[in-house]
């Protein structure tokens, strides 16, 4: 059984209306890294909560390590590590107490790793309570609690949210060390594209309740390009959208930005050939630009 996490046609909503997740199929194998991208409210946290068993799907099935998190919650949680941006560990709890609690709940706790990580993070006084820690230190405590039992799957929900760049880098270093030494799979959601690019692996884009993209990061960057087409009379958004391999068109000021699957030169040729557009500019772009072009809003130029 190499599939660690499997969601099949999962549907989940809140309070009627359009479901937040509307038919999601996702699979995470051993030693894979999957990055979840999406705008705020796109359903990344919902998906991760479903994986943890903290929410139940309205339709579809969720399997973690082959088990259903709803029927075997304890067995599933014992093999998962979880860090979230909004995880509120009890403010009055001492760090040492939290470690002792996790030591008791997770039989596979590694005390040597705990000591190594606390030394590395500089968490020396274990009697300090959570409310006296800075955001970065609290997140580090959560990370130690999540990784010391050598989980097979690490679920990170915007783990670097609100952290300063140095703290983010440390978090990343620890994750990569874990990946190297334990072969842990990681599924994480993040808004920091730099971190997503560093961690590599697969990128999954959630938008409108479905998965818009699910591809290896490098393939994504190399096989997609963005075309910037100045507006012209007789050229409308729909015509561009109808082209094959066009993923999305949006209006930005007095130009159209379109995301295409394909090489920039081919796309440029296709634009000239099909729509007679001669002054388009096609480029491969970094992940952040790709993200903005795929899910960003329209920006109309004010009529001057």
């Amino acid at each position: 059984m190499t599939e660690l996490l499997g969601l099949r046609d999962v549907v989940r909503g809140f309070g009627g209306g359009t479901p937040v997740l509307n038919g999601i199929t996702l699979s995470v194998q051993r030693e894979e890294i999957v990055g979840l991208l999406g705008r705020n409210g796109a359903g990344k946290t919902t998906l991760l909560h479903l994986a943890m068993g903290m929410l139940h799907p309205h339709a579809g099935s969720v399997r973690v390590f082959g088990l259903s998190p709803r029927e075997h919650p304890v067995a599933v949680k014992k093999r998962i590590g979880y860090v979230a941006e909004d995880q509120v560990l009890p403010p009055a709890a001492a760090i040492g107490d939290l470690f002792a609690l996790h030591r008791k709940l997770f039989p596979s706790w590694d005390a040597a790793l705990e000591r190594q990580l606390t030394d590395r993070f500089g968490l020396r006084d274990l009697r300090r309570t959570m409310r006296t820690l800075s955001k970065g230190e609290a997140r580090q405590v959560a990370l130690v609690c999540a990784v010391c039992h050598r989980p097979g799957l690490l679920i990170l929900d915007e783990p670097a949210g609100g952290l300063d760049p140095a703290a983010r880098r440390e978090f990343l270093e620890t994750s990569i060390q874990l990946l190297n030494r334990e072969g842990t799979s990681i599924i994480f959601s993040s808004h920091h594209m730099g971190d997503v690019e560093r961690l590599g692996g697969r990128v999954v884009l959630l938008d409108g309740g479905i998965i818009r993209l699910d591809a290896e990061l490098d393939a994504l960057r190399e096989q997609h390009c963005v075309a910037m087409i100045p507006r012209a009379p007789g050229l409308d958004q729909a015509a561009i959208a109808r082209l094959p391999q066009c993923l999305r068109v949006r209006t930005v000021g007095n130009a159209f930005h379109a995301v295409f699957h394909g090489q920039p030169e081919l796309v440029q040729w296709q634009l000239r050939d099909t729509l007679g557009v001669a002054d388009a500019r096609c480029e491969r772009v970094p992940l952040e630009e790709l993200f903005v072009e795929l899910v960003g809003g329209e920006r109309q130029e004010k009529a001057s």
């Binding site: 270093e173 990569i176 490098d218 960057r221």
Partner: protein, 139 residues
């Protein structure tokens, strides 16, 4: 030798690693038989995923620049790949023609082009410095 990657760059990270290693080999900073860091070490040093490093190494190995020996590590290949001399010269001539044409279109004159070439030589021989890369990206 020190590698340096930028996540937001135009090139994917594994290509940046490939480019820098190839430049180092070309500039003589890496010679045949030099050992490269392992996947784990390089990934922890650059804070990137080990699979990315593996991808870069695999591509370089396929091109013939490096080779892995079981149990001993990854080394720069003893004999670097050489395409047929004629083909290589033709490729370089074509690249030169494209370079000059593009530079003239951009309004550059010959002395400036020569300066550009000298800068590139310096970069390859000495390794990329922060200053060079910044300037290049801002131009």
């Amino acid at each position: 030798m020190q590698l340096f990657i930028r996540p937001g760059d135009d090139l994917p990270i594994y290509r940046q690693i490939m480019r820098q290693i190839m430049d180092a080999i070309a500039g003589g900073r890496l010679t045949a038989g030099d050992q490269l860091p392992s996947h784990r070490d390089l990934s922890e040093q650059l804070v990137i995923a080990p699979l990315t490093v593996k991808k870069a190494y695999d591509e370089l190995e396929a091109l013939g620049y490096i080779g892995t020996q079981r149990g001993r590590g990854t080394f720069v290949a003893a004999r670097l790949p050489r395409a047929a001399a004629a083909v290589q010269i033709a490729q370089i001539e074509e690249a030169a023609r494209a370079l000059v044409s593009q530079a003239y279109l951009a309004g550059m004159r010959l002395p400036k082009i020569v300066e550009l070439i000298k800068d590139a030589d310096r970069e390859i021989s000495a390794g990329p410095t922060l200053h060079d890369r910044k300037e290049r990206n801002h131009r």
